[in-house]
């Protein structure tokens, strides 16, 4: 018993000692796992500095109900619209950039330490020893700075094009710089076409940039520094030729690239796979017509084989990129399949970029529907994790989802694709914010159209609003789905979402939502109904400025007006109550006023609804509202005005309709004075509706009275 305890402890101590010994003495690792006495400590695994962190990060799941990590976790600071997401994240980035700017511009504030002994007093002194490059001020090069080849090497390694060009000039140009450095600089210049690339430091900026750098045009700088350096090199090495050709081909200067290639071949200079890849990529700029282009592509491949240069996966994607850029058609598609088969024989699997180009080639907007995506998905789902091989890989998921949504209209495929994206760390392949949002736009659209209702709701709950904020078109799609699904409370909720997402002033969307609400209103539970009423009332008041505000803010762009139909819908929803004291009657009244003042576009589509509201208002005991509604109907010339006014008056006076009609036919004079002002207004309305215009000369007075008495009557009746 006792020994049982003691023995393991000693063993562990021994193992500990062994480990410390082996690590102290020159960091030797135990290579053989089997030692003489039967103890086999596991071999030490070499770990990189971020391995542990990545393992820990993998244990943190994603929480769709929380905002992204980059935002402050505070209810007031969580962005809920696309605009806010963008501006919050970029504000934080701007702060970081400002700090870096101070550090670089005022480096002297950080580079002295006065208490140092004279021997340690280095200038510049960086506030750490050993120096931390990331925190050190970035060197600024200008005409006065003293530079060495070391500086040039540094700038080339960090891809600082402008700086490296400055240093190159300061060093004395092509004649004074060593050949090796010249070659490196040439490669840098050719790769970026002498344009400063994005910085690695500012991730948010890149994420929100939506940079469409790929312009399919000959943008190569002719006679630029790259050309000069190349001219000055003597003898011209194969590397120089390769860099030059690749650069020219990358920026679509096809003619020159081919000329240079021919020259190189004549001189017997060995070319590379990269050169041929780039040449294949710009075949379209060299030849016109599909047949000719395909012929050139074939001959390039054949030439590659002749030169004894083997293709790689980039060759495959370059071929497919060219093919997909030349339009569609059976010929190109067949060629693409042949190429894929050819490379498969060479054991080169197409990467994501290759699949992307295939999708572009086969799934055209207008054309026969091809399902190549299922094969691709089968292929990709077998892989452990997807590896990014070239920047174009990030186009795959967005395009594939687009194909699911528009081309195949297949929700199962979309779900498979989404599962693939969520697997492992594949999410990095989504690209940037712009691509991500298009991806989700497609996904939500296809889900709304084709997925079962419950599943759609689940998806929306997960994605909206933290992962994705729907654009107006998608919002419309969602509203349509909710309407068909008859989800009244969701529709009421959709209104608050519209406001939060910043779509609240889009009249079209609001009208669409109101339509949906009207169509689903009946058959909802009472609690839901009241929510919908509240939402409708809120729609009315949203975006309305108080008169003082109107004066202060000189609004240049006119606010979109809701259509009369929409306002009518609001009235209809809000008036669904039997309680006279219900605050929604206020909204009804306001909406009616707006209709009368012609603050709504057009005329209502269903005047009958308005007539019903008038009757109901009269029944409940709000003659002011009833009168306004009927007068509006009459003024617009709807034929519903006549029966409605008769009925309303009947309710008000508590008489059968026959009697009321008789009363009205007597004419104006007998009634004035004997009736309540609201009832009088209804009578006016009747006469307007009957004759097509106000008979009595007091029309102005009557309409104004109906306006003014609406308040008083609703108060004291």
């Amino acid at each position: 018993m006792y020994s049982n305890v003691i023995v393991p402890r000693q063993w562990t101590r021994f193992a500990c000692l062994c480990r410390s010994l082996s690590s102290v003495e020159g960091q030797k690792l135990p290579q053989n796992s089997k030692s003489s006495d039967g103890i086999s400590p596991p071999p030490r695994k070499p770990r990189g500095p971020t391995d542990i962190l990545q393992a820990l990060a993998a244990t943190v799941g994603t929480d769709p109900t929380a905002a992204h990590y980059k935002y402050h976790d505070d209810p007031y600071l969580i962005p809920l619209s696309n605009f806010r997401k963008r501006s919050y994240a970029l504000s934080a980035e701007a702060g970081r950039k400002a700090a870096a700017w101070i550090r670089d511009e005022h480096a002297e504030l950080f580079t002295t330490r006065e208490w140092d002994p004279p021997s340690k007093n280095k200038t510049p002194y960086f506030n750490a020893d050993p120096i931390i490059e990331a925190f050190a001020p970035k060197p600024i090069y200008n005409d006065a700075s003293k530079v060495t080849e070391e500086d040039l090497k540094y700038t080339i390694q960090n891809a600082l094009i402008d700086d490296s060009v400055t240093i190159f000039q300061l060093l004395g140009g092509a004649s004074a710089v060593s050949d090796e450095l010249k070659l490196q600089l040439l490669q840098l210049l050719c790769f970026y076409n002498e344009k400063e690339p994005d910085s690695m430091e500012w991730l948010e900026e890149r994420w929100f940039a939506a940079n469409i750098r790929d312009r399919q045009a000959a943008t190569w700088k002719i006679g630029g520094l790259a050309d000069q350096i190349f001219e000055s090199m003597d003898p011209k090495t194969p590397e120089a030729y390769c860099a030059m050709i690749q650069g020219m081909a990358k920026y679509y200067q096809a003619e020159r690239a081919h000329m240079l290639t021919t020259e190189a071949k004549e001189k017997g200079i060995p070319l590379s796979t990269g050169v041929y890849n780039s040449l294949i990529g710009c075949v379209g700029f060299l030849r016109e017509g599909t047949a000719l282009r395909i012929e050139t592509l074939r001959s390039l491949l054949a030439e590659m084989h002749e030169q004894g240069i083997s293709p790689n996966d980039e060759t495959l994607s370059a071929c497919l990129r060219s093919l997909s850029a030349w339009g569609g058609g059976k010929l190109l598609q067949q060629m693409a399949l042949q190429i894929v088969a050819e490379f498969k024989r060479l054991d080169i699997q197409p990467g994501l970029a290759a699949y992307y180009y295939l999708l572009c080639l086969f799934c055209k907007e207008r054309g026969p529907r091809f399902d190549i995506l299922s094969t691709i998905l089968n292929e990709l789902e077998q892989k452990e994790h997807l590896e990014a091989k070239e920047p174009a890989d990030t186009n795959f998921f967005i395009t594939a989802m687009g194909v699911c949504s528009d081309h195949l209209q297949n929700i199962t495929m979309a779900e498979r694709l989404h599962a693939l994206l969520m697997k492992g760390d594949n999410y990095k392949l989504v690209g940037d914010a712009y691509k991500e949002s298009i991806y989700y736009r497609h996904y939500v659209t296809v889900a709304c159209r084709h997925a079962p209702f419950e599943k759609t709701l689940e998806l929306l709950d997960t994605l909206v609003p933290n992962v994705y904020v729907p654009e107006p078109t998608v919002m419309e799609e969602i509203i349509k789905t909710l309407e068909v699904g008859g989800a009244g409370d969701r529709l009421a909720q959709a209104w608050s979402q519209l406001v939060v997402f910043g779509h609240g002033k889009r009249a079209r969307l609001v009208e669409r939502l109101l339509d949906a609400m009207i169509n689903t209103y009946q058959g909802q539970e009472e609690a839901v109904k009241s929510k919908m009423r509240a939402a409708a009332a809120d729609m009315l008041s949203f975006g309305q400025l108080t008169p003082e505000e109107k004066e202060v803010k000189d609004i240049r762009s006119p606010v979109q007006k809701l259509s009369a139909t929409a306002v009518c819908n609001i009235i209809e929803i809000c008036s669904d109550t039997q309680d006279k004291a219900d605050p929604h009657w206020k909204s009804v009244e306001e909406a009616l006023q707006r209709l009368r003042k012609e603050e709504a576009a057009g005329v209502p589509a269903r005047p009958q609804a308005l007539a019903d509201v008038a009757k109901k208002a009269a029944t409940v005991g709000l003659p002011g509202i009833a009168a306004t509604a009927v007068t509006y109907l009459a003024e617009c010339g709807f034929e519903e005005a006549m029966p409605a006014s008769v009925q309303v008056l009947g309710t008000m006076l508590n008489r059968p309709e026959q009697e009321v009609e008789e009363l009205l036919s007597q004419g104006q004079t007998g009634l004035t004075g004997s009736l309540h002002p609201a009832a009088m207004a209804v009578a006016e309305a009747y006469s307007i509706a009957k004759t097509g215009g106000p008979i009595s000369q007091e029309s102005e007075r009557s309409s104004s009275s109906s306006d003014s008495d609406s308040d008083s009557s609703s108060d004291d009746e």
Partner: protein
């Protein structure tokens, strides 16, 4: 069976449109607010109206493209023939095909075939070709049904009417779906699924039905390359580095949790690397044995007096330096050398005081 179903549905749509219309034209036609003074047409008798209608028909030049399209959208029966609507000139042809289609529909529906056909045609052809020979048939059809209908169509649409028409269209659609939904509710889950199906089937007429599955690996190889030793030709190291850089940029994302942020900072060289090692950044010292850091007396050999205050002082300096963890060996050596130079510059005074003499002799003897 399926087509028949579709016909039935479409027909229901049309019927709904028809049924909706007259409801608001029972009394008098609604007037827009813009023209309140227009005389009341409602009181006119039927013959006058038809006269007027005919006049209007003659006068109206051509159909408006937008209205035409609108109408087709509302009646999907015609949509199959969408191709032919591009040739506007050949109205005869269109009419023929539409008549035939309407006939088909009417046949499919059964019942009073002639009347159904007339109804359909009156809806569709009302605008297309007023001067055609079928006009009389058309009017007959209208008389049977509702004489008001075409008159309303002929008037230039006011905004209100337009809105109303659009409303009624969309409503008929939604009503239909609501109907199926209600049915689903009544009969429970199974039925619901069916209603769902109906919905998803709805867009199907608009799209080409066939999806061709293509296996992307089914192609015939070109037969250009033969697998052999790989040879990628001239290598461009800077170019490859830059490619790698672009790839990293394209797939980099803002960190989504603190661990990722730390990993990012580690990669940027802003924080300690795991496992923490306080010699990070002092890699050049790694190959230096610790004894060189600690036993510094050897640097005193050759210049320092063997004994005396200077020797004593320098030994203390060496002890101090040996405990300093922040200087490199070279810096320690430089430090000692600095004292050497200092003392040598003060040699005269030191000799005078007697702190240097013994050493000098020995050193000179050694040098010589």
């Amino acid at each position: 069976m399926l087509t028949r179903l579709r016909f039935r549905r479409d027909f229901r749509l049309i019927v709904r449109c028809l049924a909706d219309k007259p409801s608001d034209s029972d009394g008098k036609a609604p007037e827009s607010k813009a023209k309140p003074a227009e005389p009341q047409k409602s009181s006119d008798n039927a013959t006058e109206k038809i006269q007027e209608l005919l006049k209007l028909m003659m006068a109206e030049p051509k159909i408006k493209e937008s209205e035409y399209k609108d109408k087709f959208a509302s009646a999907p029966v015609i949509q199959r023939k969408k191709k032919s609507d591009e040739i506007e000139v050949k109205t005869e042809q269109i009419e023929e095909s539409i008549t035939k289609a309407a006939g088909d529909v009417a046949q499919a529906l059964g019942g009073d075939v002639k009347q159904t056909e007339a109804e359909l045609l009156s809806r569709v052809l009302g605008k297309i070709n007023q001067t055609s020979t079928t006009l009389s048939d058309l009017l007959v059809g209208m008389k049977i049904d509702r004489s008001k209908e075409p008159e309303e169509r002929q008037k230039p649409e006011t905004r209100g009417q337009q809105v109303k028409r659009l409303m009624s269209q969309s409503k008929s659609e939604t009503q239909q779906t609501r109907y199926s939904q209600r049915k689903g509710r009544a009969a429970g889950g199974e039925q619901k699924a069916e209603g769902r199906d109906e919905r998803s089937r709805r867009p199907s007429p608009q799209q080409p039905t066939s999806v061709t599955t293509v296996n992307i690996f089914s192609g015939e190889p070109l037969g250009i390359f033969r697998p052999k030793e790989s040879n990628y030709g001239t290598k461009l190291d800077v170019w490859e580095n830059l490619q790698q850089r672009e790839l990293t940029l394209a797939t980099s994302q803002p960190p989504v949790n603190y661990f990722q942020k730390m990993a990012l900072w580690t990669e940027q060289g802003k924080i300690w690397k795991f496992p923490i090692n306080n010699e990070q950044g002092l890699e050049e010292e790694q190959n230096v044995h610790f004894s060189e850091h600690i036993f510094l007396d050897s640097h005193l050999e050759g210049w320092c007096p063997k004994k005396g205050p200077i020797r004593h002082f320098m030994e203390l300096v060496c002890v101090g330096l040996s405990k300093n963890a922040f200087y490199t060996v070279k810096e320690k050596k430089d430090h000692i050398m600095w004292y050497k130079e200092y003392f040598e510059s003060k040699k005269d005074i030191l000799s005078e005081v007697g702190a240097w003499e013994t050493q000098t002799a020995g050193a000179e003897a050694k040098q010589s």
